[in-house]
């Protein structure tokens, strides 16, 4: 391993600009002549719009234009789309209502966009937005996930009972048979709390129109600018694809929430032509709470069947998933194909049957948030496993070990074919780091101080490296999920890599350069990673689902293979040797068995001057592209162990220690990977202990600021103990599995298993706030009994 190659903790190339205040985020940009947009948003969860009177607002200082849904309709601008078709068990397609970028006739959640005011300054735009008079006729609203079906309020006429789909996966008959012969059945009612992703950079957009060329430019906070361009062009109809440039400059975190194509950027780019000036919008935090896609929000009844030997023989799940008021870009897939296929966890379970009802409510759209479906599945499986072990009187680690999948590849009953793993290795390592042996002693010490101590495990698995295009296509995706790369070698030997992946904190400018430096034997300083601009980079699919390493870097690796192959041809001409005799090693092209060789930079120069090329059989230049389509998902897995101490007098839970041991396959940069684990755990702990988006009965979001929605702060968390094991992924050329979501997936059940261990009963839901814990401490009797 070199100091900058694969496996080295290389310090990040991108940091210099961020630590000196030279980052360029969307809101940092000021386009010449730009005007500012402010949205008029619905104060009601559900209402008919009787009229919109803009006359007073239009007369206010600085107002340039006020646009409504009628203007969108007149310009034949299409609605926002959901790109994944789900079919119900009876074969019928999901029931999707329209999603106009500015409301047409009705508003369906608090924050729904009704109109946009464009003005000279932001303050003027906001002042005028307040003066737009909208006459609403309020309608009954439904917000509760469990009560959405058949509620008095009908969110969309297309789905009269508010049910978007009734989907299922697995074998119903086999699962019922397993439950019929079970010795023990565990039943849990589980709520997976609604979260708001909350990247610290809020969303922003600047739309721009060039009357000379007829071309549009959209600067926006996107995790996938090409996808945004495709949707804005082909579906929403803003401009033909080649006339729309989408630039996602530095992006301040995404966690899924910046995958989606939202109303605001659509409106900014459309309005830019209408007003003839760039139009800029930056979300404030309250708007982000109201209008960013939320995550999770499941209500589930889950059951596990176990035979007389303590072997899991069946799993049965019924989940109601709140999809909000409209179907966001990928929302339909999150509680279905990103959820139920992970219900086997790390366990050999012969029969699984899952039913998922997706429902509309008068709340913000719900879509992918870090982990997307997989945290929900892991929470179900790991709570069931822990509770089952407790009810059987078995040690939870031993119960897990007994039921782990031990032979690979392993076909689960729910689509996934696990290629490789060693779950016991991660468990043992985690138990050692966490000092599980010393737990009893620590628990007694806590008890002496009047405190309750508990320990909880989480053995998670996720499906990453999303995903083989054919597979997702057969499951209803409207897109393929390959990735692209171009490796552009300059005459002097320096290199630009154009990638379809997008970095918004992941450090691609460093890790991708490490791969190139390692493979081509060039200094890492001479490699530049280019991303986030559809005019520069070939079509690509972007970054989410821990896919940039496994899929994005595999594409780069393929392109590097081609660069080396072409380099050998060039070297053969330059060295007057036969191509078959050229070897590439340590950054030099050599004639085998001789001391004749050329450095990489010499070959790149030869490729461009082409003086030694004879005839037409070798083209000048050294630039290669590749599209990589994965052949399988990747399966990162690991074991997290959380230990908590609860103060029964205050209900405050302190995380005493948190251990994570993960198997991510090959790791390019352990420093960055550990950072991803830390951040994921923090978000998972946030879900377990403090975060929760709460709508009141009328549909008002009562947690719409950092005063009301508790984000994890430094003082809420301990330092983490992170270890790794490795079984390299066999399905991609680099052996990478992906690491971005692991912590957010693994942590919630680890924390809740620890809290319920400390409490001695299972009757507490996330978030386990001090108030919830205080009450739970006083509820002695276990509410959940074995059947």
């Amino acid at each position: 391993m070199t100091s900058t190659g694969i496996g080295a903790p290389v310090r990040r190339k991108e940091d210099q600009r961020f630590i000196t205040g030279q980052g360029r985020y969307t809101d940092d940009l000021a386009r010449p002549g730009q005007a500012h947009a402010a949205f008029v948003r619905s104060p009601y969860a559900h209402a008919r719009i009787k009229s919109i009177d803009t006359s007073a607002a239009a007369a206010m200082p600085g107002v340039v234009a006020i646009l409504t849904g009628d203007d969108l309709a007149a310009d034949k601008i299409g609605g926002l789309i959901c790109g994944w078709m789900i079919h119900s068990k009876d074969g019928t397609p999901m029931k999707a209502g329209p999603h106009p970028a500015l409301a047409q006739g009705k508003v369906r959640y608090v924050g729904d966009q009704v109109a946009v005011v464009v003005a000279e300054t932001l303050a003027q735009a906001r002042d005028a937005a307040e003066a737009v008079e909208v006459d609403y006729e309020p309608l009954p609203a439904v917000v509760d996930t469990a009560k959405a079906r058949g509620a008095g309020a009908v969110v969309h006429d297309e789905a009269p009972d508010n049910v978007v789909y009734e989907w299922h996966l697995g074998e119903k008959g086999a699962t019922e048979a397993a439950f019929a012969r079970a010795k023990h059945v565990t039943t849990l009612d589980i709520t997976n709390n609604r979260l708001v992703p909350n990247p610290i950079e809020t969303r922003a957009a600047i739309g721009e129109y060039d009357a000379g060329t007829g071309g549009y430019t959209l600067y926006t906070t996107s995790q996938n600018p090409h996808l945004a361009r495709l949707v804005l062009s082909a579906f929403i109809g803003i401009a033909p694809e080649h006339q729309l440039r989408v630039i996602a400059p530095d992006v301040g975190g995404g966690f899924g929430s910046k995958i989606f194509i939202y109303a605001e950027e659509t409106v900014c780019v459309w309005a830019a032509k209408k007003v003839g000036r760039p139009v800029k919008w930056t979300s404030d935090r309250t708007e982000a709470f109201l209008a960013d896609a939320h995550g999770r929000d499941h209500v589930t009844r889950a059951q596990m069947a176990v035979d007389e030997n303590g072997k899991i023989i069946g799993l049965r799940v019924h989940t109601v998933a709140n999809l909000g008021a409209y179907l966001s870009t990928f929302s339909s897939s999150v509680p279905t194909y990103l959820y139920a296929p992970l219900l086997s966890g790390q366990y050999d379970i012969p029969a699984i049957y899952a039913e998922v009802d997706g429902v509309y409510t008068n709340t913000a759209p719900v879509d992918a948030y870090r982990g997307a479906g997989r945290p929900e599945a892991t929470y179900v499986v790991e709570r069931l496993v822990e509770v089952t072990a407790r009810q059987l009187g078995m040690d939870p680690a031993k119960f897990r070990k007994k039921n782990y999948i031990k032979r690979f590849p392993h076909q689960t009953p729910v689509i996934m074919n696990y290629d490789i793993g060693d779950y016991a290795a991660s468990l043992e390592k985690a138990m050692e780091i966490a000092d599980v042996k010393g737990f009893g002693k620590r628990k007694r010490e806590s008890a002496k101080r009047g405190k309750l101590r508990g320990m909880g495990y989480s053995s998670y698995i996720e499906a990453c490296g999303i995903a083989p295009s054919q597979a997702v296509g057969s499951l209803g995706a409207g897109i393929g999920l390959w990735e692209s790369a171009e490796v552009r070698v300059n005459p002097t030997g320096s290199i630009e890599v154009l990638t379809g992946s997008h970095s918004h904190g992941q450090g691609h400018e460093t890790t991708f350069a490490q791969l190139v430096a390692d493979r081509l034997g060039v200094p890492i300083e001479t490699v530049n990673i280019v991303h986030g601009d559809t005019d520069k980079v070939q079509f690509g699919m972007g970054t989410y689902g821990s896919r940039s390493g496994a899929v994005g870097m595999s594409a780069i690796s393929k392109a590097i293979d081609k660069v080396i192959a072409k380099g050998k041809k060039v070297a053969a001409y330059a060295l007057e040797a036969s191509e078959g005799d050229i070897e590439f090693e340590g950054g030099r092209f050599k004639v085998a068995g001789t001391d004749r060789s050329l450095a990489f930079g010499e070959v790149s120069l030869q490729a461009y001057i082409a003086h030694k090329f004879t005839g037409q059989d070798l083209e000048p230049g050294l630039k290669e592209g590749a599209f990589y389509d994965p052949t399988n998902f990747t399966f990162p897995a690991g074991v997290h162990i959380c230990e908590v101490e609860i103060d029964p007098d205050t209900g405050v839970t302190r995380i005493d220690r948190f251990t994570a041991v993960d198997d991510f396959g090959v790791v390019i940069n352990p420093m960055i990977v550990e950072g991803q684990v830390h951040g994921g755990i923090a978000q998972g702990v946030g879900q377990a202990l403090m975060e929760g988006a709460i709508y009141d009965e009328s549909g008002q979001l009562v947690t719409a600021s950092y005063m009301d929605y508790q984000m994890p702060r430094a003082g809420d968390l301990p330092s983490f103990q992170v270890g790794m094991t490795s079984t390299p992924c066999p399905s991609n050329p680099l052996g990478i599995k992906g690491c971005g979501e692991a912590g957010a997936i693994a942590a919630p059940p680890a924390v809740m298993n620890a809290i319920t261990d400390a409490l001695g009963h299972e009757d507490i839901a996330m978030p386990a706030t001090p108030r919830a814990v205080w009450h739970a401490v006083r509820r002695a009797a276990p509410a959940i009994a074995a059947e």
Binding site: D15, I19, G23, T202, D250, G675, Q683, A714, G715, F720
Partner: protein
Amino acid sequence: MAIVSMTVNGKAVTADIDPRTLLVQFLREHLRLTGTHVGCDTSQCGACVVHMNGAAVKACTTLALQADGAAVTTIEGLADGADLHPMQAAFREHHGLQCGYCTPGMIMTAVDMVNRLGGDLSEETIRAELEGNICRCTGYHNIVRAVETGAKAMAGGEPVRQAAE
């Protein structure tokens, strides 16, 4: 409109502004110093922290007029030319940032913490002192390491070791 004058990163500036202009807007929009960020509207996240007369303030909750006559330092003014401030170097060395959005505020808060409390800071102190700064990416683990190291370096101890890029 109102006239405001202050020194920003050592340079005197004067402008005629709408009196409701916030210090963060003045820095970002009038002076185009966009390193100071905005992450919330309730004075909670600390993305906007700058130094005013040597003390950390949240520029999102300070009117530009309140800084009249003051000396303001932003993240852009922290390094000494090409030489990073030790706290900046420590954030890079310990991978104390991912998306970088909270980072300017974190660094300005950390420098202020050392100015007030000295270079020998316990993990508990650092975590408590970061109460007003939210990071969604790092889980704070490496931010704590960075502040520990940066604090020691500021107090005249070890310079921050720079690993290979």
